[in-house]
């Protein structure tokens, strides 16, 4: 049992250090209690139990399964959760207390694994080693632009009735409650009103090779948005869509920040239509009339524009507006002739240049209701 305890604690440490799970003593305590409750006769159940305790959101399930396989051997085979292909760099096995095999040597770091995985499995992946970083240089301006955007985005009032200081409808319950102070006489009237909408911002960054030059600036802007508003979310895509809001929020605030992205998200080819379709589908319930969608892409897509048109149509209908940032807008003689841009134009509220992020707040201001 002591071996098992040590193994579980080492596994938690692995999740915490290399997979960004942010686990503490309470989680370790819960994991050990869960194993005590569930027993270790079935490796699959052991896996389910640890997953129920140590994961707290669906995005953690695939990394958890990878880490589990890496640490305890391949016990999570046959799980329903789809997992990306694994790199098998190490072949030295150790017996775990559960009788499984642990692969603990020569395991590539997440960065190496990511690089190897791209090289092996992505037909359109790049070979660049550059990890995008968020530099201090220009961060102040990005924070100002982000603040300006958030301040400019007024989307009118909600239809909900909520307690309001000078509302238009009498709140009988609160009026009665306050009348207790005045011997039952309703001296202090309380009212309901419509509160201001609290807008959300979703920034979707094209991370393909053709946009590599603009990646640092866009990431910096995404980081600034995530610092300035809890209702801003940031996504990147090249061949697959990944949300990086949490990763951005966890970055330290006092030094150069490199952001590590796993999967085929950075520097690969573009599947703009597919990525935006996935975005519209996955987050359809979170995109509503309070949401501004900002897409940063050059609109170069190898695939047809049908998927893109469909995705933008859905986003356009569901959201408050779509702002498109294109790096070529200010190029002399620019006309949006790329098929993707042609398809996008009818659904875009504003087509702006990437270098002028301040203009995003002006576009947001134009959406004021």
């Amino acid at each position: 049992m002591a071996d098992l305890t040590r193994s579980v604690l080492a596994f938690i440490k692995l999740l915490d250090r290399e997979y960004g799970f942010e686990l503490g003593h309470a989680d370790a305590h819960d994991a050990l209690a869960a194993i005590h409750a569930i027993g270790v006769r079935s490796k699959r159940r052991f896996h389910h139990a640890l997953r129920a305790v140590l994961c707290s959101q669906s995005e953690q399930i695939a990394p958890f399964d990878r880490a589990f396989d890496r640490f305890f051997g391949n016990a999570s085979q046959g799980q329903r959760q789809p997992r990306p292909p694994q790199t098998k760099a190490g072949n030295e096995h150790h017996h775990s207390p559960l009788g499984g095999r642990r692969e603990i040597h020569d395991e590539p770091s997440p960065a190496q694994a990511w690089q190897a995985m791209r090289a092996r499995f992505s037909p359109v992946a790049a070979t660049t080693d550059a990890q995008p970083a968020i530099s201090e240089n220009g961060l102040g301006k990005a924070l100002v632009d982000a603040s300006r955007l958030i301040a400019a985005l007024h989307l009118g009032r909600s239809r909900r009735w909520k307690p309001h200081v000078r509302g238009s409808r009498l709140d009988i319950r609160r009026t009665l409650r306050s009348s207790l102070r005045s011997g039952g006489d309703p001296l202090y009237l309380r009212t309901f009103g419509h509160p201001r909408r609290n807008p959300r911002i979703m920034l979707v960054i094209d991370a393909s090779r053709s946009m590599a030059e603009h990646a640092p600036k866009l990431l910096q802007f995404g980081y600034a948005l995530s610092r300035r508003s809890t209702r801003a979310r940031v996504f990147v895509f090249s061949t697959a869509l990944t949300e990086i809001t949490r990763a951005l929020r966890r970055l330290p605030q006092d030094r150069e920040r490199a952001i590590l992205l796993s999967g085929e998200t950075w520097g690969g080819g573009t599947r703009l239509g597919t990525a935006l379709r996935d975005f519209a589908k996955t987050y359809q319930s979170r995109i509503d009339a309070d949401t501004l969608v900002v897409i940063a892409s050059d609109g170069l897509d190898a695939a047809g524009a049908g998927e893109l048109r469909e995705a933008l149509r859905r986003l356009h209908r569901a959201s408050a507006g779509i702002v498109w940032l294109n790096p070529h807008v200010r190029a002399p003689g620019f006309t949006p002739t790329a098929r993707a841009m042609q398809a996008a134009l009818p659904y875009v509220s504003a087509l702006l240049d990437i270098s002028d992020l301040r203009a995003v707040s002006e576009a947001a201001h134009a959406l004021r209701r």
């Binding site: 997953r51 707290s56 669906s58 009735w161 359809q284």
Partner: protein
């Protein structure tokens, strides 16, 4: 109660869930921690709480969350009209202010809402906090004390601790990101759409008289449908409704006509309807009837 017991008793009640859910429910009962269930709409998140209450032979207390839900609607509220009435009726009795206050702010004037009800219940109930993502962040923060300590503080009465810790299930459709603080207090399980085999088993469990071929065809059709980029992807609840409708129309097999008559059971957005129509192959193979999104290959076994 072990995961096997839970799975068996759930199956007896027509709920076919994965092993992950059974293990998570076992842990929820053993560790006395809330369980957060996430997954797309219509996969049986809410139903799992109802079935659990039935399995445990206890009361199900449900709190349906919505935007604007506040503590007064979820936890407790003072019965103001009754308090006012008591003040009026006792005006002539010359009680001190303290005496009056202690009288009107006592349990007799308290309206119990679901959360307080769950805490004061003698026998540990199943507390279902449904669609927590619809509630405001302020309400989520308010829940933290309850889920962490199973106690609530009423300023006029003090802190009330749970007599028996309720089995708490929270569900979320992920329309909003929940806070880390809330997630940290919960066990977590994700329920996805079922596999074709599981969906067939669910159809047989819930509709014992269903034709085996019809069940296979429905499950396969739904699998294909869920791969389409629809605005509203149908869940298991829709499969069951559809199967019941087809049985009601005495259909033992899917064909174009029966699909056209009953498509409203599973596709509930006009755009999705149009999309399915436009994707219909122009010349379906003779041996495989066309069901609108490509032919169904459910002729297994």
């Amino acid at each position: 109660m072990t995961a096997d017991d839970i799975a068996r008793r759930f199956a007896e009640r027509g709920y076919i869930g994965g092993e992950e859910l059974s293990v998570a429910l076992e842990l929820m009962l053993a560790l006395e921690k809330p369980l957060l269930i996430e997954g797309p709409a219509g996969v049986g998140k809410t139903e799992s709480a109802k079935v659990l209450a039935d399995v445990l032979q206890t009361r199900l207390i449900r709190l349906q969350c919505y935007e604007g839900l506040d503590a007064a609607s979820a936890l407790y509220e003072w019965n103001y009209p009754k308090q006012l009435l008591r003040i009026r009726l006792t005006e002539a009795e010359h009680e001190s202010v303290e005496e009056r206050e202690s009288e009107i702010f006592s349990e007799a004037f308290l309206l119990r809402r679901p959360l307080l009800e769950a805490i004061l219940e003698e026998r540990a109930p199943v507390l279902l906090i449904d669609e927590i993502d619809r509630a405001d962040e302020a309400f989520e923060a308010f829940l933290l004390e309850l889920l962490g300590e199973f106690q609530v503080t009423i300023p006029e009465l003090g802190t009330i601790r749970a007599r028996r810790r309720p089995a708490v299930i929270l569900t979320s459709n992920r329309s909003r990101e929940l806070s880390d603080a809330l997630r940290r207090r919960c066990l977590y399980v994700w329920i996805d759409y079922p596999s074709v085999e599981t969906e067939i088993a669910i159809l047989h469990a819930r509709l014992p008289k269903i034709n085996a071929r019809l069940a296979e065809q429905i499950a396969e059709f739904m699998r294909q449908l869920r791969e389409q980029p629809l605005q509203k992807v149908p869940g298991v609840a829709e499969s069951l409704d559809w199967a019941a409708a087809l049985m009601r129309l005495h259909r033992d097999e899917l064909d174009e006509r029966s699909i056209a008559q009953t498509i409203g059971c599973i596709v509930k957005v006009q755009d999705d309807w149009e999309r399915l129509r436009s994707q219909r192959p122009s010349a379906p193979a003779e041996s495989e009837p066309d069901y609108g999104i490509g032919s169904v290959r459910a002729h297994r076994g």
